[in-house]
Amino acid sequence: MTNSFGEFSKARMFFVIGSNMTEAHPVAATFLKNAVMNGAKLILVDPRRQPLADFADIHVQIKVGSDIAFLNGVMNVLINEDLYDKKFVENCTEGFEELKLKVMDYPPEKAAEIAGVSADVIRDVARTMAETRPSMLCYTLGITEHTCGKNNVMSTANLQMLLGNMGVECGGVNPLRGQNNVQGACDMAALPNVFPGYQKVDNPDARAKFEKAWGVENLPAKPGLMIPQMMEGLVDGKVKAFWIFGENLANSEPDIAKVEHELASAEFLVCQDIFPTETTRFADVIFPSAGWSEDDGTFTNSERRISRVRKVSEPPGDARPNWWIFKEIARRFGHDWKSNSAQEIWDNEVSVLAPSMAGVKYARIEADGLQWPVPDDAHPGTCFLHREGKFTCGLGKFNAVDWTPPAEVPDEEYPLVLSTGRRLYHYHTRTQTSRTGLDYLLPEETADMSAADADALGIHHGEMIMVKSRRGEVKVRANITHQVPPGMVWMAFHFRDACANWLTNPVFDPATLTAEYKACAVRVDKI
């Protein structure tokens, strides 16, 4: 997030696209709802009539995967009606002419046709956004989990720069991160192309710095593989030994049949986890891990806030801290790592090596955490980025992009769109939540569908149906709901038997390799 949760309650306007915040980030949603109750405006762009729709001034129910067409249509109106922030565009951005040229291809009528909404609503959105500024743009996986995910993200940034909504309080582009420490895992460089603090591995100076700090030579310069490439590497033999730490790929990746074939192909698989999972079934070695509250450390949230996590008990049996396991393997390779606790790792290594976190030490985050960048010990942290329109790379770059449809669209054989996501009462593959009593509130998966589609197929609410895609089929209970528009089926991946990922399409954004979980074609059959 460029901005902070603390700004939500003060914001005057929100533009929420592809984020079912009420269920996936419930506490963040409470602050947004507070603001709306106090008069802030909310534009919600979402194919489903999800819970925030009750609070929205305008709910634009676009078709799945039409985001870019819709956003280009809105920007077309902003430019044609002269409603954009010329001063910001002139002083703080580059690439406006290319953007203008591109969005001129998306007059509201054309955008409306692609997005399945009216041209008037596109004009209304543009005018409303121009009228009340700044607005906080929030998105989640509804934007990224598409084959055009990167372009979707760039479109949201284009819109906010065009409106001059960047670098100000209560503005910005705000992806709500899904997992508790997905931001931190990125910051720590569990990524194939960077060292901690986003220092690029192909930069010789960065390599020299880390070689010196780690006391090693010849750090690899070539960026490594991303998860889908690793998985395919298991089959084609490029990857022989694979180590999975705390991920249940067998349920969370698209097309379970394919994923399980890949896992089964591994020559040597190490799993490090707190529980047996569908993934650890394929392991040659399982390391038992310390879980949350069994070790000290830090998490970094969506707003870049580094907060303490504290230990209250020892891990069960012979389970050990994860950092210790890695250190012990390093020792067996002749590397003697000095840090011997999470605090030593952070204070003596991470904050020394990552300039954006240089001022973060455990002693400073006893209470509320600090939001990076925190360049030095006296710096109070950064609530919002790009202050006064000064972007990290100088000028904010408009990236003009075209709309592209999802890789698999409905046809005669598979006439419905399957879109997937998360539900309030469970977390991902239920490794944790299935052991907390939360099954009481949500005991099984459902296929959410519209009354119109259910009627046409003669399906009653609550009856077991078969949902099929080109990858697989699941037997699941039908949930007829006004949340889902005709033509769509919506499912989550919390339960193994009726997991949406038996059906999802393993196609990826070409740049980020994020899978298209939000759109594939399915058919629904009565059993």
């Binding site: 409470t30 997992q179 593989l225 790929l249 529980f275 392991a283 790792i345 991470v350 009593g437």
Partner: protein, 352 residues
């Protein structure tokens, strides 16, 4: 603008327009007890505990819902005030079955504390009959209406803080009740089990079922930590007894959640105590996993990775780190892959 002043217990103090009497008093560290008042929410003036005496006013005034005015002469602890509060406490005690012996809230109960500090040791009124049975159905929240004082803090938390709009006041007079929907159980209503109602309940009417009989406030240590679920990063108080978490509440005034939690953060903590945890290293032998020592398991993994790298090069190994675990764990894993294995084949589920 002219400075606004009033007299508070004989002292002249300044205040800002729009502040209530209660807010002015608290800003000068003058304690006025209040039950129904919930910080940040619309004052309801329901409980009448916060009454104060204002010179010239006909009756005592609820300080939580009365704006301070220039020149007011306020006494927060006069005999008349104390007498009124004692009566209110007596009536509240008689309104239900306020039996502290097995009440979870004992020792941390606002009503119990008030009764003690005002020395209410005898109740002149008969205890009112209790028409509403306790709701014990769901595994998370117990609703004991016999202990409810109808202060409405739970309603405020649901309506104004979390904006889940699931509960409200229902019925009238002696049958008045906090209701979910049209007086349904929490399960059957729009309740989403965020449990904010439990966190703000000043008495033992709403309690965490999992924490029942596991320890009261005085028996519990508080440990602050960060929630293990979504990317909001809510700050939690873990209520710990003998090294075991017995309940979780939100840290008031903390960034980013200001005391708020959701169902998973509040009730989803006990997966760590599952008997199904991985407790010992396991090695697959002849297709079956068997227990092993750390030395054996670590040695096997180190040897396999060393052999693989020697035979097929460093890029023949790959690792996926965990977006659930600590920063320090991810740092160590990428360091292992880069500095020791000499490959950048390290990733995590950032893209999914």
């Amino acid at each position: 603008m002219d400075k606004k002043t009033l007299t508070l217990n004989g002292k002249t103090v300044e205040f800002q327009a729009g502040q209530t009497i209660l807010e002015v008093a608290r800003s000068y560290e003058v304690f006025i007890p209040a039950l129904c008042y919930l910080d940040g929410c619309t004052a309801t003036g329901a409980c009448r505990i916060c009454v104060v005496e204002v010179k010239g006013a006909r009756s005592l005034i609820a300080s939580c819902s009365t704006p301070a005015e220039n020149g007011m002469d306020i006494c927060t602890d006069s005999d008349r005030v104390r007498k009124s509060r004692r009566l209110t406490i007596e009536l509240l005690l008689a309104s239900g079955e306020h039996n502290c012996i097995t009440c979870e809230k004992s020792g941390d109960c606002m009503l119990q504390n008030l009764a003690y500090s005002y020395g209410v040791d005898a109740i002149r009124f008969p205890v009112a009959p209790q028409p509403h049975p306790t709701e014990m159905m769901n595994p998370f929240i117990i609703r004991d209406f016999s202990r409810c004082i109808l202060c409405g803090r739970c309603v405020q938390a649901c309506q104004e803080v979390q904006v889940n709009r699931a509960i409200s006041y229902g019925y009238r007079g002696p049958t008045a009740k906090i209701i979910a929907g049209c007086d349904k159980t929490y399960d059957e209503s729009d309740c989403v089990f965020c449990g904010q109602c439990v966190q703000v309940c000043p008495v033992g009417a709403l309690v965490e079922k999992k924490a029942r009989f596991k320890g009261r406030a005085k028996d519990l240590d508080l440990v602050r930590t960060t929630c293990p679920y979504c990317g909001v990063g809510c700050q939690l108080w873990l209520h710990v007894k003998d090294g075991t978490i017995v309940k979780v509440t939100g840290v008031e005034d903390a960034q980013p959640n200001k005391g708020r939690l959701c169902v998973k953060g509040r009730f989803g903590y006990d997966f760590i105590y599952s008997e199904e945890r991985n407790k010992t290293p396991l090695i697959r032998e002849d297709g079956v996993l068997r227990e092993a020592s750390w030395d054996e398991a670590l040695g096997l993994v180190a040897n396999k990775f060393r052999e693989t790298i020697e035979k097929h090069g460093p890029d023949s190994v790959a690792g996926v780190s965990c977006a659930r675990s600590l920063n320090e764990d991810s740092y160590q894993m990428q360091k292992l892959f880069r500095a020791v294995f000499k490959t950048n084949n390290i990733d995590h589920c950032a893209r999914t």
